[in-house]
Subunit: 447 residues, 2 copies
Amino acid sequence: MVTGITVGIKVGLLGMGTVGTGTVEILLNPKDRHPLMKELELSRVGVRSMAKPRQFQLPEERLTTDLAAIVNDPSIHIIVEVIGGIEPARSLILQAIANGKHIVTANKALIARHGSEIFDAANRAGVYVLLEAAVGGGIPVVEPLKQSLCANRIMSLIGIINGTTNYILTRMQQEGGDFAHILQDAQRLGYAEADPSADVNGWDAADKISILAALAFGGRIKREEVYCEGIGQITAADISYSDKLGFVIKLLAIARRWGDGEGDQPQLQVQVHPTLVPKSHPLSSVNDVYNAILVEGDPVGEVMFFGRGAGAGPTASAVVADILNIAALLTVERGHQRQSSGYPVLDPLLACTHQEYYALIPITHTKSRFYARFLTHDHPGVIGKLGTCFGNRNVSLESVVQIGLREQCAEIVVVTHGVNEYDFRAALSEIETLNAIHSIPSVLRVL
Amino acid sequence: MVTGITVGIKVGLLGMGTVGTGTVEILLNPKDRHPLMKELELSRVGVRSMAKPRQFQLPEERLTTDLAAIVNDPSIHIIVEVIGGIEPARSLILQAIANGKHIVTANKALIARHGSEIFDAANRAGVYVLLEAAVGGGIPVVEPLKQSLCANRIMSLIGIINGTTNYILTRMQQEGGDFAHILQDAQRLGYAEADPSADVNGWDAADKISILAALAFGGRIKREEVYCEGIGQITAADISYSDKLGFVIKLLAIARRWGDGEGDQPQLQVQVHPTLVPKSHPLSSVNDVYNAILVEGDPVGEVMFFGRGAGAGPTASAVVADILNIAALLTVERGHQRQSSGYPVLDPLLACTHQEYYALIPITHTKSRFYARFLTHDHPGVIGKLGTCFGNRNVSLESVVQIGLREQCAEIVVVTHGVNEYDFRAALSEIETLNAIHSIPSVLRVL
């Protein structure tokens, strides 16, 4: 066996921020890690400024501010992109692919929006684009979906895949505090960014679930079709009432296959929204900045992946794993000679093999359980009127609880059974017109 | 790109028990699974008896009771061994390897005991031996350790990896019942075998942690050096007292790296025993037949893999994933021509690259927290005497609680801080000789 063949894989790193620095730290310390690490050479590192003080001393000649020079360097085999954002990341990756280089990226926003362009280019060039670090930090989930669960018909993915919102919701749950105040504190502590909109609006989670759904269901997803609702409207009252009803509120990213499996393409539902999760559910105890992804497949049943979803160390763990996976395949490839046809042959489990788009089911056509909180004038019979409006739309109620008084109104919380969102919305519209109803401060989905 | 290259991988299946039947079910139903499934052909199936009624109708000519004929069939590429036990599984696998066939197996007992012989033969022949199904059923853990966490220095593995014992302990916890009665019920329900010794004595968990430790730490483990204690001695009283102290009792399989990392080989501790797990720990809520493996690595931190650890569907999911991983690599290989040297080149992340044995630290030299229950004659000062004996051996106590009276003795429960097992045992020997001590019914480790 020749597994120890000298491969001498040269890596070019774009970006020396948090993840880039974590990646350098692993590459410079191969001891006790996989022996293949010793075949990796950190060839060039692209930085924004040469002057910035750094945690690691790299030879001056390896550093450059000219990122294009790295992706055009003919000696480099793998480009690691950890600069983030759409441009110049997209152009640099496309140029690297055109130059026949393999790509490792942590850039979920880019892949969720421009994945098709990038994977098409990669397939033409016969190179890999690996992105374990794009979802769930260091938690192995992308590669397990590709390689370990590949024999399954995946039925659903349910994930807590944004650490910032999970941190905020956990603190709201534990302290009874309100959103705005805890967000400020999270920003002060570095758990939320100065502009927190991508996290708190659910956009980051939507990027990630788009990527996971494409992998799990074997088709491409249009990011802009993913329904997305953030946590900005969650109040301490809703958290407290949910708690009393046996739920915690989590920002869930959900992708689900519907239908009887007829036809070649499944019907998919992909959405991100705050959700009441029963306290008995494995995701309910995933707190703070931890992430978890629950996968349901046939025949594996439910499996869950759990860990820290962000941070230099965990994310760099995933980046370097992807580098090693490419290095391993290059080792195999170099043990052979390319056939004269010259077609590069990619590992079909690791390459992107699907090219068709899935049409997503619009949110109004999906089915959910709902939680709704009503402020009502304390008319006798108001619960009866609510029940009638819901009943007229075939919305079956699991519980109706009058909680108490707020702003001189009686506060009523309703939890439904699984209903069509369209019917539920229609019932709500009718309820809003009732004289007995003051307002409907919250409507949330229930897992 | 040529990922759709026709590979036509022929699979020979040894065994049509639970896992074999689950494997056939997936192979015969490729729809909505990975497209590479369509390249697999279930060529021959070895069974014990042709007469037995089966869930699936396979063409008569594909079935045979002559297992040797399958491993000697020159047209077959991959042999799947799911007959279990040591022989004839070992001889069939070695013969298949000698014939240049890749191996997929779910046989933890065989790999834990004869892994070295099998992997050495596989390395010589240039074939893969994959065994995702040997640990944790369908939970991806073997491949993630090899491929997704390969950039980490693994610090510890802690697993609940035997479903039978976890089912029994969960019911003891929930019902307050005793071991013997719940074991009988588990046997009646099919959760425990007629001869439950491999499960309840921890041998099955020891097989599995040996395999995981070898993968995680990159060295071979001698199965007979793994310390192993079963759950037969656990009483309802211990479960109840643990509960009051904030713990649940789980059968844990633990592998841990010790020392400062000097020298080329880490010092390893590998052991299986019932353990008090704090209720706040992620493993404490893994109940019934579920399995979970918590991996701590540098820099990934803690990641956990959770799911059903047994059963036809989950285990077959892992078996077929391994088949597909080999098929994927054969696809890459066939896109190239073997170099004239003729050396087969294996993927260094998937092949077994380590050949040295790790010496395990004997249990007496390890450090643990302990729980001990004492029956004492109600002498004044007995707690003082216990404290003195422990103190003389540098055993620091976290809590000492007098629970009540049992068999006319005062019952005292002690929980220690982390101490050397040797010192703790020495203190216990001294305590046993005290007049005030009636007996020491239980000694358990604490996570």
